[in-house]
């Protein structure tokens, strides 16, 4: 990886520090700074913004094309469902750990509908924390996630798991609708707006 150039997916390059300082990242880093100090004073806020901008310049990341807008209600539902799933996952795995039966696993491929790297990352990290899955391999070119699923007795539950994963992606897309049309094979995307 070159320090000044980054490679895009199609093989072309872009400068590494192009749009490196993003308002959202600066806001987040400033919040972390304030949380570490444990208090809010004008001097701390100014210092935090300064440090955040420096960090963004020193360690540039590609810009995130965050959605045309965040839908608060759908986002709240996503987060709420996610928290419930995290608790359920923990107890499910605990049950698997403590029982005597040997486990049967599966490696499942899930083709995501969205072509956005951001959505793919978000779905992958959420899938790692909710019931039964760890991401083994991710293919950016085909938007495919390969998940290792714990405790799969037969092929039917593989299908059920795949549906769950795609449902999760739909919830993410509903909360953070992307700018561009989702993907060529998702003709029902405009209908989602009304929900």
């Amino acid at each position: 990886m070159s320090p000044v150039l980054r490679t895009r997916r199609d093989g072309s390059t872009r400068p590494a520090r192009h749009r490196a300082v993003q308002p959202l990242a600066v806001l987040w880093l400033t919040l972390v700074w304030l949380a570490m100090w444990g208090e809010v004073t004008p001097l701390l806020v100014i210092g935090g913004v300064l440090v955040a901008v420096l960090v963004c310049l020193a360690f540039p990341l590609p810009p995130i094309d965050l959605a045309s807008g965040v839908r608060p209600l759908a986002l709240a539902r996503l987060v709420g469902r996610f928290l419930v799933d995290v608790v359920r996952a923990s107890f499910q795995v605990s049950g698997v750990v403590l029982r005597r039966r040997p486990v049967r696993n599966a490696v499942v491929a899930v083709d995501l509908e969205s072509s956005s790297d951001f959505v793919m990352t978000l779905v992958a990290s959420m899938l790692s924390l909710i019931p039964g899955s760890v991401v083994v391999e991710a293919r950016r070119s085909t938007h495919t996630l390969y998940l290792h699923v714990l405790d799969v007795p037969d092929a039917a539950s593989v299908e059920a798991f795949r549906r769950d994963a795609l449902d999760l992606e739909q919830r993410v897309l509903r909360a953070l609708p992307p700018d561009a049309p989702v993907a060529p094979h998702a003709p029902d995307a405009p209908e989602e707006v009304g929900r």
Binding site: T7, R8, R9, D10, G11, L31, V32, L34, A35, M36, G38, E39, V86, V87, A89, S90, Q92, V93, S94, V96, V97, L98, P102, V103, R104, N105, A106, V107, V108, A109, A124, S125, S128, L129, G132, V134, V135, V136, E137, A138, R139, R140, S141, Y146, H148, L150, V152, P153, D154, A155, V158
Partner: protein, 121 residues
């Protein structure tokens, strides 16, 4: 008795439950047959266990200044355990350590060899 007693009880319950979940994660490390199954035990009960202990801690400290920091601990724990589990799982799978006899379906090895284009992660 004041309002602090129920909060203390809640904090104690959270801390105990968190410790038990961490113990289950450790038992999973010893009992599970292969590395990828162990990874499940290492991510899920462990994350919830840490989160519960931290919630219990903030309930027992009751200091608004530390809530931000503890929230940060929770977020970091969730974000980082995902990254490490993915990296270790991928290395293990690519090294061929997965036990095929435990798998019902293996859609990654079944597919033909796939070459990622340049710039792929």
């Amino acid at each position: 008795m004041s309002w602090t007693t129920p909060v203390d009880v809640l904090a104690a319950v959270c801390i105990l439950l968190g410790a038990v979940l961490t113990l289950i994660a450790a038992i999973g490390q010893v009992r599970m047959p292969d590395l990828l199954s162990r990874m499940h035990a290492a991510t899920k009960p462990q994350v919830l266990g840490t989160v519960l202990v931290v919630i219990g801690l903030s309930l027992s400290l009751r200091d608004p200044a530390v809530v931000g920091m503890l929230l940060l601990v929770v977020l970091l724990q969730m974000a980082t355990s995902v990254v490490s589990s993915h990296m270790v799982g991928r290395a293990s799978f690519r090294a061929g350590q997965v036990r095929d006899d435990l798998l019902v379906v293996d859609e990654l090895s079944d597919g033909d060899a796939h070459e990622e284009p340049r710039g792929a992660p």
